[in-house]
Amino acid sequence: MSQTNRLQSGGRIDRSKPLTFTFNGQSLQGYEGDTLASALLANGISLVGRSFKLHRPRGIMGAGAECPNSLVQVGRGAGTIPNLRATQTELYQGLEANSVNCWPSVKFDVNAVTGLFSPLLPAGFYYKTFKWPKSWWDKVYEPRIRKAAGFGKAPTAPDPDRYEKKNRHCDVLVVGGGPAGIAAALEAGRRGARVILCDEQNEFGGSLLANRQFLDGKPGVEWAQEAVAELESLEEVTLLPRTTAFGHYHHGFVSLLERVTDHVGLTSPDRRPRQRQWRVRANQVVLATGAIERPLVFCNNDRPGIMPASAVSTYINRYGVRPGQRAVVFTNNDSAYQTALDLGDHGIDVAAIVDVRPASEEGVLVDRARKEEIPIYSGYAVVDTRGGQHVSGVKVMRLNGRGDGVYGEIHHFDCDLVASSGGWNPVIHLHSHPGGTMRYDESIASFVPDQAVGNTYNAGACNGNFALGGCITEGLSAGATAAAGAGFGSEDIEGAAPATGKQKESPLRPMWRVPSRKPISRAPKQFIDVQNDQTSADVYLAVREGYRSIEHIKRYTAMGFGTDQGKLGNINGAGIAAEALGEDIAKVGTTTFRPAYTPVTMGAFAGRDFGPERFHAVRKTPMHKWHVEHGALFENVGDWKRPWYYPKPGESMREALDRESYQARHAVGVLDASTLGKIDVRGPDAAEFLNRVYTSGWKTMEVGKARYGIMLGEDGMIMDDGVSARIAEDHYHMTTTTGGAARVLGHLEEYLQTEWPELQVYLTSTTDQWAAISLAGPHARDVVEKVVSGIDLSSEAFPFMTWRDGEAAGVPARVFRISFSGELGFEINVQANYGQYVWDAVWEAGQEYGITPYGTETMHILRAEKGFIIAGQDTDGSVNPMDFGMHGLLSKKKDFIGRRSLSRPDAIREDREQFVGLVTVDDPKEIIPEGAQLVEDRNANEAPKPVPLHGYVTSSYYSSTLGHSIALAMVKRGRERMDEVLYAPQADGRVIQCRITSPVFYDPKGERQNV
């Protein structure tokens, strides 16, 4: 079978470029320029899939984005794509498509039996049943429903393709490359404005590609091609075919999806991305998105072979396809007569034009149809159809005057094609996304844009203007207005509109639902949303049950919830709802138009922002490479990579930590501290500023000294901590936690700029400027002595908590004598580009003392042995300084951020959790899991819940130095409860007995750091 339904000539396909593809395993042929849908029709295939609920046969219905059927699974393996619309899938060599939602085959689908039960499955049936027995919902009903639901299958392997993003600004964005859009782009582009013209189709021209209208005496397509050629010649105009504007957001931001390689293969054949998301910021937006023909709603209107009239014309004129052998045209307006003529002109027999309008009409097209001697049944309606997997005939009866009943004899027409037209719906999605309002227009019986948001203009069919001439004039004028708005010329049209033949038309007769001989509830199904099997009877049922809001009706009947978002059905649905409610459709309104206009590949939203190198920034210290070379494992701290620990070959984590901490306590360890946040604070009011942002006093600290400080949020809770040093009278060097750096700088700037503008202080981030090499251990001074010059390192000249400027390995250095380990400690800070060089020198100098690099884990152990806290681990945003016994750091002489909150009742509550140490009782070496909760009841695991919680473990380690495990914890009234025993019940049933101790486990007098 080879394209039996392909017309001999015509269409925008290239018959010299045949393409082979497969559908459900069958090898078929089409041409370049085909969509999968047109190629299938050319091969006489109309049955494509099955409907969602009842698994009824579903054929190709529309010719584009509006088609609710024709969903296929394309390709296989990692590249497979579910739920593609055949009408929007460009044909390429080797395309492989399969039907979805049917088994074993689309022709014989077991689940079609569902249809037999359809009387039991009215709208919302699932709310009323599947409730008994209770346990069956989870176990029986739902799993089956889930298995039956869903259309296609997801890939099972990661996506082989790339998706890129592009941020672009423009003066005028024109959405839609039909006559109106092209005109707008020309008008604005000629003025030198930066214009983007995008269209979802593979070529520009819109309706002109599918009809036979003339412009300036030549076929519309030729006019379009010349216009596009001119646009291409304009330097500041960007043309984007195969690009769908899917979302219109605030302040001129519009998202476009460009399908870069989808038309050449399943996956990109080269280094190009498969798709690109354009993030356009447009000064002005012109919407020329056209209109979609809505079908008439009549009994059994869902059979394959029943299509909107315009789709029939599109397949004939654009794709050179004969959609059927014998057609019936069913309409309430003039436009479908063109389809009848298109059919006739291509030798397709038109059995009848059934027109619901009573009078014989006056339109030009009607006259021509008469001349062609096509039988016209005015005042008649199609009341039912015949057929199994394809329509085989229709029944026609006379309509009564009110259009709400039929009578008289039944006329039978055999046909394999029904082209129906119920009028046209402007595509107002993008107008509505940002909040544009709409109004009901009687003359076209549909909704049109009313108030637009921002600099947005609607032109052409999407504005309710369906005449070609009018579309182009509106386009030109919208282009002029937009260009003028962007500062290019006046609002007067400069370009000339091409000549169009005037066409006299007769008004349409609105008809939301075609009556049948039986009442709605008993008549054969009249489908509104064919994808979800939603019918007019469902709408009436919803209203009957009290679901009266259009949103309730939509949700109760699942109308418009399909992958087509109700592009064909929603307005009909609103009309039928209005009928059922006895209200005016203008009052009933439509449901909300939500992005995306058509489904958008999720990968295109993600772009390249995923994976180990790009999901977030990866921040590295100047010595990163060295750490890697020395076997470090890394810990993510914020965006930083910090050495976690340095296992030797064959060494367990525990062994490595024991070794690292032993060396730091007995020899010397070296830590990369470069990630700590650093802020330069300078100005006459620097001391006053620190006084306000830290809890303690800073004015009296002498130049050359450093001090530990804590910062609170205004709520009194600990926010961050760090050591700050006084560089000069008016100058401090502040450090913050690694994770807190950005937050702290932001916090300080906020207060400086918004609360205390009178303070003369400048804040500058210098985090990345300094490489910080931290040495700890009894031999720290020995090593520093070998590296640092220009500083008297004696304890007298360079005591604990001071800093000095000097040189390290010949490099200017700022050396701090501070310690986060409790050992004798020095921190050498040098300009980051010298960091590795100085680190090497330190490493060299330390060899004779057994210098050992240690990471964050050992750092945590060392500080925990000393009871030093880590903001963010031992604090959780709900603890204040008193909870940590830091009363000494709370200045009484001055106000500071958060101070007022410390006197609130809850802050001074007596049973607050306080910071303590814990040791295990039964097995001193057992490590309590961090996050363990503490209770008084040894049998808490079994006890009735809730069990009173007395606190929890914030940090917990094995201390090789002490030979037993240690933990830090927050415990209710902890400081009064020294030596009390609490229990940490574990999920596995274990109960760990712990004793409350001081959080300072090691060298309580702090002698070691002062040597």
């Binding site: 772009g607 210098t766 960091g835």
Partner: protein, 203 residues
């Protein structure tokens, strides 16, 4: 400082002789790092003539007070960062002397100078697709009509903050990147350039 003393660029793992040699022939983007340039962050009050005059005396050029503009004079380039903040760039190893002269000239005033030589590195992006690559991660309007030589801006390139300006008559862009983000930024640029034939490294 003695010759033996070695500075290391944050791109030490990326811009290697091997990588340079492996630069693709059809690369749509050319990247050049200008490491170790002396950088100073200057704070002060532009409404105070004693400040601006003194600075001009040292830099040999008036501070740009028009937001997001750059001025150049000899070895000195001055970027506007904020109403009271400028980024001053000079030759390698020129920063300490520059700071000393600024501090001397501005003695007694409410100002701040910070050596930020190690805080940043400078990257130049050229080639036919330089702008295409940047547009993938930068929401700034990079069109010459909107962003011409003489202008500069602090903005985001994907997840990294950058200071950017057009250079070489708009044929290329200069990016000043924070040191700890440099490696990430380079990797990001290389990835973004894939569809344009990748990145060629030049000197």
């Amino acid at each position: 400082m003695s010759e033996a003393i070695r500075q290391e660029s944050p791109l030490v793992e990326r811009i290697t002789p091997e990588r340079k040699a492996a630069s693709p022939a059809d690369a749509g983007v050319t990247l050049r790092e200008r490491p170790f340039l002396g950088c100073v962050n200057l704070r002060g009050n532009p409404e105070d003539a004693s400040f601006t005059d003194a600075v001009q005396g040292v830099l040999g050029v008036a501070l740009p007070t028009e937001p997001n503009t750059v001025v150049e004079s000899g070895d000195i380039t001055v970027f506007w960062l904020a109403p009271t903040e400028w980024f001053v760039r000079t030759v390698a190893d020129g920063e300490r002397d520059l700071i000393a002269r600024l501090e001397e000239a501005l003695a007694g005033q409410h100002i701040a100078t910070n050596d930020v030589t190690g805080n940043f590195t400078t990257i130049e992006l050229a080639g036919p697709h330089a702008r295409d690559v940047l547009e993938k991660g930068c929401t700034l309007d990079l069109h010459p009509r909107a962003f011409a030589p003489g202008q500069c801006a602090q903005t985001l390139l994907s997840h990294a903050g950058i200071l950017i300006r057009p250079v070489h008559d708009g044929q290329a862009f200069e990016l000043v990147v924070r040191r700890s983000f440099a490696d990430y930024t380079f990797i990001w640029l290389e990835d973004a350039a894939v569809e344009y034939g990748g990145v060629a490294i030049s000197d």
